[in-house]
Symmetry: C2
Subunit: 360 residues, 2 copies
Amino acid sequence: MTNVYNFCAGPAMLPVEVMKQAQQEFLNWQGCGSSVMEISHRSKPFVQLAEQAEQDLRDLLAIPDDYHVLFMHGGGRGQFAAVPLNLATQGQAADYLTTGSWSSAALTEANKYVVANEVAKARQIDGLWAVPEQSAWQVNNNAAYFHYCPNETVDGIELPDLPDVSAPIVADMSSCILSKPIDVSRYGLIYAGAQKNIGPSGLSVVIVKKDLLKGPQASTPAIFDYALQGKEGSMYNTPPTYAWYLAGLVFQWLKKQGGVNAMEAHNRAKAELLYQCIDDSDFYRNQVAKPYRSRMNVPFQLANPSLDAQFLKQAEQQGLTSLQGHRSVGGMRASIYNAMPLAGVQALTEFMREFERSMG
Amino acid sequence: MTNVYNFCAGPAMLPVEVMKQAQQEFLNWQGCGSSVMEISHRSKPFVQLAEQAEQDLRDLLAIPDDYHVLFMHGGGRGQFAAVPLNLATQGQAADYLTTGSWSSAALTEANKYVVANEVAKARQIDGLWAVPEQSAWQVNNNAAYFHYCPNETVDGIELPDLPDVSAPIVADMSSCILSKPIDVSRYGLIYAGAQKNIGPSGLSVVIVKKDLLKGPQASTPAIFDYALQGKEGSMYNTPPTYAWYLAGLVFQWLKKQGGVNAMEAHNRAKAELLYQCIDDSDFYRNQVAKPYRSRMNVPFQLANPSLDAQFLKQAEQQGLTSLQGHRSVGGMRASIYNAMPLAGVQALTEFMREFERSMG
């Protein structure tokens, strides 16, 4: 198979142009005779690459100067620990809104370092997942920060609006960063595992307001010390250099596409097409209330789940890969991040209609 | 420049055959139509790759079954924290032998979690670095473990023999793993950042005796919990999949070369050639006592340091790259890990002799 549309939730597909460039210069980067992964992170060419990547990300999201942009090890789950370690003193309270698997896991990890307060929890109403109205949240006025996950990869639940809370907002944007414009100044901290909208797995990006860093808890591993990594340009330890390089290529690709404004339109068009296909039929369904449907991860079920295996097999045969739902929920899921072209979603919806017809 | 010998200490050169294969299958791995970095870590083909890589490493080092082999985030510095968090209770004593920059940094980090006792420290005798005889070490009989770094990358100091201590031995083998046979059963834990002898940066490998894991300290970030990662096949969180894939290719390459026995001979030949060149001349010198000279990282100085810049520039012009010493010590350093061919060291020594002649 050489032409596929890969709907994997992560590690996810990267832009084809980026992958082709990376392949072309794989053995000999910028004529240096070595791969970019074989040179020192402290060498002039790599430092230049690293700084350019940071600048491009700052440009794309209009990140203010009083925020650090960090390129770190450890993925999103590493940040589940790093966030409380850096933003709260031991045993301080922190608020967590749980809207799915990832924000729930973040809360569990945080309880090692803070008293994590679940302000509210997504729940099913008439069979559809929804997030309680903010007026019903149990917010703690002494919380060091408010943590939430604007887009839940497993559950396909997205919060359209920024919560209106007084504590600094921490957002796990692993599966939605760079998918639309945001106002960074309204966040205290944004983090994202790279493997969905940024690059390969093994890298996480942290955007943090500098004045929130009063000194980490005593038990903080040095590699998770945001202030230290900020001071050292994310090179306190050897960073994941190849992932950083690929992230930089993705940022340049995004700029060429027209940045996050263009991505917002691109992603909205894809999501509308796919949800329309689901809603047009009784054969498929999505179990998230419309205001909370994710533009990035679209879980859907067949009304007759005994056809799941057949659906997945035929889709695979047509080059529509990695459509199985997360192992914890089953069914199907199409992850349609920035790098997924509209043509991929068109091919998917055509297949879905054809499959439904063939089962008629 | 297209033909270079890259002496970078890390991220270091990878075997040319490995890099060529990786480039060739970069966009379409095993005919799946996607890059190996674009597929789920839980997909059957990736799990197979991951298990094969682990098995190959087990074969290469004859790792007993009662050891976990973990593929983790965070590099060597991450393990500086993970080791005490997993092997000792809070405030317990642990022994550290400090023979250079990395073991000293490991001790500093460990003091967050244990009472780290410096059993001895490398020192200069008549201008040459040496490690005190073991009879002079201040070993703590209650130490949870004994930590050392068999090869110090920055300082070029290698310990030829395994320390004879009663506590479980923890070895930071970042710059010497797989460079010669070892008896894993004599260690409690071995760890290595990948970017020297295994693969790209962003991956660390941990080999740990299962029965040493009594439960980590309460403040251990979950991604650093060895027992948990062991139980989950290093997939508690999304691992750095592309680095894991490249590590697997390196392990297969090592097997084809004849394994660690062949590497030992290969590395000895390279190191002898280079030290001979240094010792044959008053123009160059190495400041490590002969029994402690590293086979992997060979630091050397010019008797006249004002020629350093000229040496480095001319070397670079001849395709001998990344020979500058670590920023903390200056001078020159040639890192000659497994992937460096003998021809690279021959080219370097020829250049060194020629440079000396031209300065005569």
